[in-house]
């Protein structure tokens, strides 16, 4: 219904162009069904910048395997065989429709290798025409970038987490990991703190925050975790300058701007071993390590311990490499890549 809604909205929008019907229709919002309206009914060439696929093969296999209850699969749905099959049929039909409308694009730009792999398999006709390319999103690099001196200076023993208090961010895993770190290395308790910076946008997020605070209390981590909610970006920058370790726990994040920001600020970043952070961000730079990857509470606890006990010279090298490696996600790099793609496509002149 929502896809139908976006199609109708796009139709009304294009109708209002009157005698100045667009030649090129650019979508950066992921409303793929608007391509049908723009291309078929108005004859526009379509360019899409895709942040993530509306439906992914991961989602389909997750429903099929019914192996975990996630934010997208409420317990009663995951446990019911019939609803699983119905959901699977619906998702498959939607995937085919999504692939068909996506294939109407003349140029498709995606934000990461993870998104590229999914879009390449879903938008099969666009993939056949070889019009899909990766252009990393423009990230705020300069404002948080620190110097070599910044990498060398002593930072506070803080683990920083940046992300909205949404279920997919998996803040529970961060708290579990901290609890496990203190269980394995009790001397760190009282010495290491975790700061969770994020936004709450409604009752659900508030409820989730309360649940996290209760969890911290239950695990006796009340004094070790600071919740920093709905603060302006200057506060985030302040924490980025103070903290020494960054943590990211979202499974299969399509890109990971938060990870880029932490790396550009010179934090030793521990990111989830999946999605964009694994394939594009926390990757070796000139053969040298730029961060750590983990996927379980044990893995995160070990990585945090490694980050805090790392030799200063090694830590400095890692911070420096991380900082330098993320310059490829800057505004300037986006500008250069996008300009090349759009000029090479010839869509602005034909």
């Amino acid at each position: 219904m929502e896809s139908w809604g976006t199609m109708r909205l796009a139709y009304q929008a294009l109708l209002r162009s009157g005698s100045e019907c667009p030649s090129v229709f650019i979508d950066t919002t992921g409303c793929a069904f608007t391509y049908l309206t723009a291309n078929v009914l108005f004859g526009c060439k379509v360019i899409a910048y895709v942040h993530y696929p509306t439906i992914s093969t991961d989602m389909l296999s997750m429903v099929w395997e019914r192996r975990r209850v996630t934010y997208n699969n409420q317990a009663y749905i995951a446990n019911s065989r019939i609803t699983t099959y119905v959901k699977l049929v619906y998702y498959t039909m939607f995937a085919v429709a999504y692939g068909t409308v996506g294939s109407l694009c003349s140029l498709v730009l995606v934000n990461s290798t993870w998104t590229f792999n999914h879009i390449n398999s879903l938008w099969f006709l666009a993939a056949l025409r070889k019009v899909i390319s990766i252009v990393f999103p423009p990230c705020r690099i300069s404002s948080t970038q620190h110097t070599n001196d910044g990498d060398r200076r002593e930072r506070e023993r803080i683990v920083l987490s940046i992300g909205q208090f949404r279920p997919e961010k998996d803040h529970e895993l961060q708290i579990e990991s901290l609890a496990l770190l203190f269980e394995k290395h009790p001397t760190l308790k009282g010495d290491v703190k975790m700061v969770m910076v994020g936004g709450c946008r409604g009752a659900c997020d508030q409820e989730r925050l309360r649940h996290l605070q209760d969890m911290a209390k239950r695990l006796d981590l009340e004094s070790s975790i600071v919740f920093c909610v709905n603060q302006p970006y200057s506060v985030v920058e302040d924490w980025l300058g103070k903290a020494s370790v960054g943590i990211h726990t979202m499974w299969n994040e399509h890109f990971g701007i938060g990870v880029v920001e932490m790396m550009s600020a010179g934090l030793i970043t521990i990111a989830h071993d999946s999605g964009g952070p694994k394939s594009d961000i926390v990757v070796p730079f000139k053969g040298k390590q730029t961060g750590l990857l983990a996927s379980t509470a044990e893995g995160y606890a070990d990585a945090m311990f490694e980050a805090f006990t790392m030799d200063k010279k090694v830590a400095f090298e890692m911070r420096k490499n991380a900082r330098l490696s993320v310059t490829r996600f800057s505004d300037e790099e986006f500008n250069r890549s996008f300009k090349k793609q759009i000029l090479d496509s010839g869509l602005l002149i034909s």
Binding site: G18, P138, I342
Partner: protein, 209 residues
């Protein structure tokens, strides 16, 4: 044989004939509908493509919530910055942004008139009386806002027009508006996306910002 002829029950042959007739009707109806639909699409496209009076190449952006402050908005303006740079030499591009949300509070409502010069950044359409209160004049303060928020400087010579779709917001449905409320962020964090998902559940999955 006599018994067969007097039976009220239809024979195999008559059933076959009936089914063939139904099938032929279905095929005929489908073919007619497909032809009508194709004709309508062709005429629709022809009307807008051939009726295009713009001297510039019009590049349209579909971005219902262009002021939400998210990462999707950053991508929008970063792309417009690139187009502004390309346009600087030949001044051949016109940017149109379809939005439900006004880009800034200082925007004034525009009026479509034939005699206005393109420099006023108004869409020229004499037949668009009903849109008098739906278009928005482009004023330079939005560029200042973009520079302040995203550190992106956009060429002031670039022709940009917003088309305000405030009376069409209901098309998006309450779930998208709900999604919008989630991604309408304060300055605390960057989001990486705006997404029109197809169910509220997948919307939750999609909002991986």
């Amino acid at each position: 044989v006599a018994t067969d002829q007097n039976s009220w029950f239809p024979t195999h042959k008559s059933i076959d004939m009936f089914l063939t007739l139904v099938w032929q009707l279905v095929v005929l109806l489908s073919a007619s509908l497909a032809t009508l639909l194709s004709l309508w699409i062709i005429l629709h496209r022809w009307k807008f493509r051939w009726g295009n009076k713009s001297k510039k190449r019009v590049i349209a952006f579909f971005h219902p919530y262009c002021s939400s402050g998210g990462g999707g908005e950053r991508v929008l303006w970063a792309i417009i910055q690139v187009l502004g740079e390309i346009d600087e030499k030949h001044n051949f591009l016109k940017i149109v942004i379809y939005t439900v949300e006004p880009p800034s509070n200082s925007y004034t409502k525009g009026v479509y008139k034939n005699d206005q010069s393109p420099k006023t950044n108004l869409l020229l359409d004499s037949s668009a009386d009903s849109f008098i209160h739906s278009s928005l004049l482009f004023v330079p303060d939005v560029l200042e806002k973009v520079e302040e928020r995203f550190s992106l400087s956009i060429s002031a010579s670039l022709d940009i027009t917003f088309i305000h779709l405030n009376d069409c917001a209901h098309f998006l449905g309450k779930n998208i508006l709900h999604l919008h409320s989630r991604i309408h962020i304060s300055n605390s964090l960057q989001l990486t996306c705006f997404m029109a998902s197809f169910t509220s559940q997948t919307g939750q999955a999609d909002c991986r910002c």
